[in-house]
Symmetry: C2
Subunit: 189 residues, 2 copies
């Protein structure tokens, strides 16, 4: 019988939990949802945001727990929308990004996920990072969540995330890379 | 002899302190600079951001103190850049706003300042708000700080904030309105 390790994912987004559950199961992690309104600070650094958020949570919660923060950093826009990707998506959407990128020759972008994890009995926060380089497409391609219809991963074949099957996307995805690093660490603990 | 009231302005920006000092002097307030790195959370609500920030500060600071948060809310961009005005200015700048607003018929916008104030001996936070309605200009006009070269206050004569003298701007300015409300309150205390 395999011993499953119980770890909590602190987020207000149940879809992210379902996604992470599938990945972490392969690492003998039983993922639980800690449904909480995270405090996200304004910073241009995802690690700072995640660590602050986690520190607020672990004040009252003593189980192994992690938070995740993701941003799309576009080169020619000085890293915009970066840590504010979710707010920018809600207000400007992909239409706004296309408008901002009109005429820009440099279409390089970085999708980055930071996971901050804290174990119940230790004080130290562990950071796991997943990054995927890509290009911003000139128009919306495919149907997908968030910026997926605009992001063409460099390691791919020219399709956007949204034009790929979930399995294809997961092989390249920034979020999956971060979750797999967490999984590797937990397996060794 | 007039009794001056000592109040602290918690901000990392000394220019804002100088500006506020001049206004609040008329209300017999001696403004002091509490130079501190404020914690700004990600929220679409300026009041929530200011209150959180102030609550972090007053944990260690027992004098009368306030924080200020300002945002430009553009109608046709669903309130963007809103509470993230400073980050968006640093990354996209006025050039980016002009690009986003290209072809938009509705150019209405709101400049809003929220001040959260706490007195030494009371628990309650007082909120003071200053708002100015305006239009987003089609191009950069005048030389000024932040979004001033793009913002045409409705109460004005068609010039942007940046095309006005400081005295003219102050008569209409969102930040001045909020500081004056604070001044009125302090005079009555």
């Amino acid at each position: 019988m395999i011993n499953m390790q119980r770890v909590y994912f602190a987020t207000g987004n149940p879809h992210k939990v379902e996604e992470a559950k599938l990945i972490l199961r392969d690492y003998n992690v039983e993922l639980m949802h800690l449904n909480t309104q995270r405090v996200e600070i304004q910073s241009s650094d995802l690690v700072e945001i995640a660590v602050y958020s986690l520190n607020q949570i672990v004040k009252d919660f003593k189980q192994p727990v992690f938070v995740e923060d993701t941003g799309l950093f576009i080169n020619s826009l000085n890293g915009f929308p970066g840590p504010f990707s979710s707010y920018v998506f809600k207000t400007l959407g992909n239409k706004g990004i296309i408008k901002l990128m009109k005429g820009e020759a440099d279409r390089n972008a970085l999708f980055k996920t930071v996971i901050a994890f804290k174990e119940s009995d230790r004080d130290q926060i562990k950071i796991f990072i997943g990054e995927t380089l890509g290009l911003i497409s000139e128009e919306i391609r495919g149907v997908g969540w968030g910026y997926d219809p605009l992001f063409i991963p460099l390691e791919g074949d020219g399709r956007t995330y949204a034009e790929m099957s979930l399995e294809e996307k997961n092989l390249l995805s920034h979020r999956f890379k971060a979750l797999k690093s967490l999984g590797d660490y937990l397996r060794k603990v």
